[in-house]
């Protein structure tokens, strides 16, 4: 698959200084928004996005236009939320967008807000992205100054305000309902669903939440049309995706590629990652952030689209592709990832709060040579006690690394345990306090 002649999202790679307001305007910036507001009805835009087949880039891949269509008729105010919490391990494309191409995101938010008839949009941005948040605010101020935001936009009576809200550093606040709780000033924990946000979201009002990358696609779809967008990607996964590739590849980074690109090409093509560092063999590929099921070298021919990865028991997720070579231990990778989930568990539900803690304790002792023979069935039990039982997907995600590791590399666990004094309890004494 040949690389993109022109980028749709990472246009900063094609146009120097597109983060500069004037440069953005010179390249047709805000024309799509102007067309939308002055020539199209909100319903037209929703239909166009539906036709484009754009799917949410935040993880679940839900068709964006369909989601917008879920808003109950006639209920206002409505809110648009832009999810820029980007905390999924291995994912860093949102950051590049807000850093290098912020105006396209803001225009995307403006068009989308117009489409869903919202007059207020919030960008919920990961707390650590402090500098980027300031840049976004500056970009928003520029848009206000030009009358692209604020009252009576393009003289058509449409009002829109955009606010940037910084989180306080919790992965769970990327989950849409926890994000809303956090935005409302409460502790960031997911809400019970239903009701779904489209019906009752922020402050109990109909709310649409989309990822940064999703929204950044919108101006280009409106400018060039749905049919044009569908020229990229596959039938069911149209368009492009920004893959954040990290790990033991020669050239890690963000690559925007058409959906459906083979994994092998992304890793080995000179256009992309240029192969493995030190030419070691691929051992583990986590294709969609830490929540995605693991692939191995055997899976290199899978194409990177929603369907193909789901068929492999994994997922496209956020597009954070973590590539690890033989030098790593599967036990350690599982530990690291579950340590992350343990650290980020909000604590609301029992299986995630306690299960991640349990998993990490057992993995830790195996890793440090104190594993016990009964630890392998124990690990299976623990994740099975979690799987399907958690309140939200964070807990379910925590099952993924350990289940993948045990499925794909059982011998590494057995070995680690065997080395720990024939599987018997050692040094690690049990003290009763």
């Amino acid at each position: 698959m040949s690389p993109l002649a022109e980028h749709i999202v990472l246009r900063d790679l094609d146009i120097e200084n597109i983060a500069d307001f004037d440069v953005y305007l010179q390249h047709g910036g805000y024309e799509a928004f102007r067309t939308a507001v002055t020539e199209r009805t909100p319903a037209d835009i929703v239909q166009m996005v539906k036709d484009s087949g754009l799917r949410g880039r935040g993880g679940a891949g839900f068709p964006t236009g369909v989601k917008w269509g879920f808003l109950p008729k006639g209920v206002y105010p409505r809110y648009l939320l832009c999810n820029c919490d980007e905390s999924e391990p291995g994912t860093f494309n949102n950051h590049q967008i807000i850093d290098r191409n912020p105006h396209q995101l803001i225009e995307g938010i403006a068009i989308s807000a117009y489409a869903i008839e919202a007059n207020l949009a919030y960008i919920y941005i990961r707390g650590e992205f402090a500098a980027a948040a300031r840049r976004l605010e500056r970009a928003i101020a520029q848009a206000y100054a030009r009358g692209f935001l604020g009252r009576n936009i393009f003289g058509k009576g449409y009002d829109l305000d955009i606010y940037v809200h910084r989180g306080a550093g919790a992965y769970i606040c990327g989950e849409e309902t926890a994000l809303m709780e956090s935005l409302e000033g409460k502790i960031g924990q997911p809400r019970l669903r239903p009701p779904f946000p489209a019906v009752s979201g922020l402050y109990g009002k109909p709310t649409i939440i989309n990822n940064v990358e999703t929204l950044t696609n919108v101006p280009m779809i409106v400018r060039h049309g749905a049919a044009w967008y569908r020229r990229f990607g596959t039938e069911k996964s149209p368009g492009t995706k920004v893959f954040s590739v990290s790990g033991h590849v020669k050239r890690p980074g963000n690559y925007e590629a058409p959906l459906g690109i083979p994994l092998r090409e992304l890793i080995f093509s000179p256009d992309y990652c240029q192969g493995m560092r030190s030419n070691r063999n691929v051992k583990i590929i986590v294709p969609g952030g830490a929540s995605a099921g693991w692939l191995t070298a055997d899976d290199l021919d899978v194409t990177l689209d929603y369907e193909a990865l789901a068929a492999k028991g994994s997922m496209l997720g956020s597009g954070g592709v973590i590539v690890l070579d033989e030098s790593v231990s599967a036990v350690e990778v599982a530990y690291k990832m579950d340590e992350f989930f343990k650290h980020e568990s909000c604590g609301k539900c029992t299986p995630c709060r306690e299960g991640t803690y349990f998993l990490v304790k057992v993995l830790h002792r195996i890793m440090h040579g104190h594993g016990r023979r009964e630890d392998i069935p124990l690990l299976h039990d623990v994740y099975n006690q979690m799987a399907g039982n958690c309140f939200c997907l964070l807990g379910e995600s925590a099952v993924v690394p350990i289940r993948s590791a045990l499925r794909l590399f059982p011998h590494e666990f057995e070995q680690a345990i065997a080395q720990a004094g024939n599987g018997h309890r050692k040094a690690h004494a049990v003290s009763v306090r």
Binding site: K342, E344, G347, C349, G355, D381, Q385, G388
Partner: protein
């Protein structure tokens, strides 16, 4: 609501649509284990203990019909392909729920294993042990061994204090959020919250002082583990050693059902007993922590007789003989009218009944009152006997369709449980209007708040009446049949517009109109009035009566008036006739008795359970002018120190009896096994005196004949005084007195001990023996939910006359520009608070001022203010409240408050100035 039929574990169940699976199973007698779910709280689905298999018929997307399998039955699919939390999943037709499959058992066991991984397993020293859902569910569903290394357990500092009353053990907390949700949703004191996340997620108190809520103890009941324990019960006993004694809280007119949990002869803890009609499953902290006084070492044990300046111990025989001799002497030389009796409205019916019988029939004096006669004490104007809520009223069922007016009341301070009850009504969609001259915590409930000028509350009620008339919102049919004087009322109001009345009250007209509209249109209408309404006076209360009458909101269940008259049994005091207006011959009021005593017209008194001197030092002078004073109490009160004879009595824990609550529910309490130093119950004291008098030749009269219908109530129901019969003074047990009350007191016919013992079945939301999975540790009610007695209006033939009239406006003047109002406080520091863990929360005397007034006067928070009225002055610390209306000053009615020094009546004009000589630190 339409019904839904489903199958749970093979059993077919039909329940209302919208029921969740846990409740539906409960109805079928199947207990799905839960932790975070509680039937009184909104389900949150957090703990994942209630996971079950939910199978629903497969629907063909094309035809939208159920797919039928080869066996001719609908093909079922597992909802979402995984287990579902039953507490947040609603039932649907054709659903099949399986709660005992291997998959469910694995999940249940798994969640319990998880919960136990961070649990300290210190059951042997945990107060919850023995009644702990975590223990119980672990036994039933959990693993028998732990696979989690003990050394890996997370540790927190052992209990931290969430305030004076509640300890939190974070290691034991299973993070179910029941406590937080109780505080937020039920109590309306959102003082608890969560901090941090993951395994270090923890409960914190967000208020200063910490856990500042009058309902905090309830969280320890519904906490499914021993994470929350009370300072009062911590490490006191194992729960299986306790012997629960059913009792009634003696602290306010709600009459919460409680249990005195005794170990041998010591009170270990006070727990709520479920009574849907009264307190659901809750009690307030005053009820829970305010019972330590019964075990106080200062309790009186022996009669005392005055020898010169000192009160010296005597035997009962000596004391009673002396009393009989002195009372006869006074009656002989000064007449029966020279004798008077005051009895506390906290005393049980049996005591009050015999007290008035002693006076009316044996001593033949009508001078009886349950008031203290302090200068600021409002007259008791009762609508309960006439227009009280109809028999069968149950506030816990009310919601949409109900409108409640809360007038001149601060329920949190006067009758705390009503806050929960009213919040419940609002939460279920009921309509609430609060009419009070100053803000109270009830204002936090979704409600219409009308803030009249103090003393002008009647004008709001009149504006409501005028709106009813103007907008033709009258219940015409009811008015035609049962109400007189409508035309006259219209005449009296003809020169007043809604606007002018609202203006006089200082209330917004649109809000008043909407309140009138909501109240008139509601299916059920209830009016609650309290202390400030009494202070406002008869004009207001007459208008409230007319509001209830014109809207037809009387004489039916869930309709009528609830007066919050101070005292746990003021209702009983009125019904038993401990009131000067109750008999044929009008007696002296308390206030009149003080005057009469000073003038030598009143020579002898018996004061039972009341301490008028404490709040009104001027009463001492009157008491000292008496020839003979008997005080009967459980403590040597200030009043008792002026007595010639002091008689000790049993506390509520040491005897049996009945109390009548604000909704006229007569409830029985039992005797706990507590050493009461052989002190008799109050009724027995009266009996001993009566017998001694009769033995000395006093002849009791026949019953008093018909009452004149005047007095406290507008048309006071016939009371004990009017129908009393037996002149036998032969009562062996409280039940004998209760039987006589049932036989003679108007309306009490159904209140035999037997009928008082009936429990309503099924009790709210509860299945036999499964209660612990749902409800926490409040007790089931196995000892009777009481009997509500009818109000006059319940009789369909009773008619009523409208009386509202436009009164003159209370006004301040230039010399005394502020209005002083006594504000009731639950934590008033009076005798009940002895030895209580609540002591640090007792309110000390102070004056509450508006912030701008304070600034204008140069008064800083905590600074001393001097107040002066036409009769006296006082100095006390100031507290600034920016929400208090200007021109109003509140003095909490607490122990030591110098109210009686400055008050000229319930409303007093005062001047305020900064007290310059010194300041005290901020409070």
């Amino acid at each position: 609501m339409p019904n839904v039929t489903l199958v749970i574990d093979g059993q077919t169940v039909t329940v209302p649509a919208g029921t969740n699976i846990v409740d539906a199973a409960r109805i079928a007698g199947i207990a799905i284990p839960v932790f975070c779910y509680h039937p009184k709280l909104k389900p949150v689905g957090m703990c994942r203990m209630c996971l079950v298999e939910v199978w629903t018929p497969k629907i063909d997307p094309a035809t939208r019909q159920a797919v039928i399998g080869e066996d001719g039955r609908p093909v079922m699919t597992l909802m979402m392909g995984k287990l579902q939390p039953g507490c947040v999943t609603s039932v649907s037709d054709g659903m099949e729920v399986r709660t005992t499959t291997d998959r469910v058992r694995f999940a249940q066991k798994g969640q319990l294993e998880f919960l136990l991984t961070s649990h300290p397993l210190d059951c042997p020293v945990c107060d919850k042990g023995g009644e702990c859902p975590l223990q119980n569910l672990t036994m039933q569903f959990g693993p028998s061994t732990s696979r989690f290394d003990y050394a890996d357990k997370i540790h927190f500092e052992k209990p931290i204090r969430l305030g004076d009353l509640i300890y939190l053990d974070r290691e034991r907390c299973i993070l179910c959020s029941r406590c937080v949700r109780f505080q937020d949703d039920i109590a309306g004191d959102p003082v608890l919250g969560f901090d941090n996340r993951g395994r270090t997620w923890e409960i914190i108190s967000k208020s200063d002082p910490p856990f500042d809520s009058k309902f905090s103890g309830n969280t320890t009941d519904i906490c499914p583990v021993g994470a929350l324990t009370t300072a009062d019960f911590r490490f006191k006993a194992r729960v299986w050693e306790l012997r629960p004694t059913p009792s009634i809280c003696p602290h306010c007119p709600v009459g919460c059902n409680i249990s005195l949990d005794m170990r041998y002869d010591r009170l270990m803890r006070v727990m709520p007993r479920e009574n849907d009609y009264v307190n659901e499953i809750w009690i307030c902290d005053k009820g829970r922590f305010g019972m330590r006084f019964i075990e106080s070492p200062e309790r009186l044990r022996q009669p005392l007789i005055r020898k010169g300046d000192t009160l010296t111990p005597a035997t009962w025989d000596e004391a009673i003989a002396l009393i009989a001799e002195k009372l006869i002497a006074i009656r002989t030389h000064a007449g029966a009218a020279a004798l008077g009796g005051l009895a506390s409205p906290d005393l049980p019916n049996e005591d009050l009944y015999l007290f008035q019988k002693l006076f009316r029939q044996v001593l033949r004096s009508p001078n009886l009152d349950f008031c203290t006669g302090a200068p600021g004490e409002p007259a008791i104007i009762d609508l309960g006997a006439t227009l009280g809520v109809g028999k069968g009223t149950n506030l816990s069922n009310l919601g949409a369709g109900t409108s409640v007016l809360v007038v001149g009341a601060d329920p949190e301070e006067e009758a705390p449980l009503y806050v929960l009850r009213l919040r419940g009504i609002a939460a279920r969609g009921g309509d609430l209007t609060i009419i009070n001259p100053y803000p109270t915590k009830l204002d936090r409930t979704p409600a219409r708040v009308i803030r009249p000028r103090a003393g002008a509350e009647a004008f709001v009620a009149l504006a409501l009446l005028k709106t009813l008339i103007e907008e033709e919102l009258i219940a015409a049919d009811f008015v035609t049949r049962r109400v007189q004087g409508f035309d006259e009322l219209k005449m009296r109001l003809r020169n007043h517009s809604v606007a002018s009345l609202c203006d006089a009250a200082g209330a917004p007209e649109d809000v008043v109109r909407s309140a009138a509209y909501a109240f008139a249109k509601a299916d059920n209408g209830i009016i609650i009035y309290g202390r400030v309404a009494l202070a406002s006076g008869a004009d207001l209360i007459d208008a409230l009566a007319d509001l209830a009458l014109l809207t037809g909101h009387v004489g039916r269940p869930n309709n009528g008036v609830i007066p919050l008259i101070p005292g746990a049994n003021a209702r009983g005091a009125l019904d038993m006739g401990v009131h000067p207006g109750a008999g044929k011959k009008r007696g002296l009021t308390a206030r009149e008795m003080w005057a009469a005593a000073r003038e030598g017209r009143l020579r002898g008194m018996i004061i039972a359970g009341m301490d008028p001197v404490r709040d009104n030092p001027a009463a001492a002078e009157a008491l000292d002018a008496l020839e003979f004073l008997v005080v009967q109490d459980i403590f040597l009160t200030e009043t008792a120190q002026h007595a010639d004879v002091v008689l000790p009595t049993a506390s509520i824990a040491g005897r049996e009896g009945t109390l009548t609550n604000a909704e006229r529910r007569v409830q029985r309490f039992r005797q706990a096994r507590i050493p009461e130093f052989n002190t008799p119950a109050g009724w027995d004291v009266a009996q001993r005196i009566a017998r001694a008098l009769i033995a000395l030749g006093v002849k009791p009269t026949a019953p008093d004949g018909q009452g004149d219908g005047r007095g406290a109530s507008r048309t006071l129901a016939k009371t004990a005084a009017t129908t009393a019969s037996s002149d036998q003074w032969d009562y062996a047990v409280a039940g004998d007195v209760a039987d006589e009350i049932a036989a003679t007191v108007h309306g009490y016919a159904d209140t035999t001990y037997e009928s008082l013992g009936l429990t309503r079945k099924p009790q709210w939301g509860r299945q036999p023996n499964e209660a612990i999975f749902y409800d926490g540790t409040s007790y089931e009610n196995t000892e009777g939910v009481g009997v509500q007695i009818a109000a006059e209006a319940d009789n369909p033939k009773a008619t009523f006359t409208l009386r509202a009239r436009v009164p003159p406006l209370f006004a301040t003047n230039d010399a005394y520009p502020y209005t002083l109002l006594a504000a009731p406080r639950a934590y008033d520091g009076r005798a009940w608070s002895r030895d209580s863990k609540l002591l640090p929360r007792m309110v000390t005397p102070h004056l509450i001022l508006n912030a701008d007034d304070a600034t204008a006067l140069g008064i800083a928070p905590g600074g001393l203010v001097q107040i002066a009225s036409e009769v006296g002055c006082a100095v006390l610390p100031a507290q600034i409240d920016r929400n208090l209306p200007r021109g109003l000053a509140l003095m909490p009615d607490v122990d030591g408050a110098p109210l009686s020094r400055v008050q000229t009546g319930p409303l007093t004009r005062i001047a305020i100035m900064a007290h310059i000589s010194e300041t005290v630190g901020t409070r």
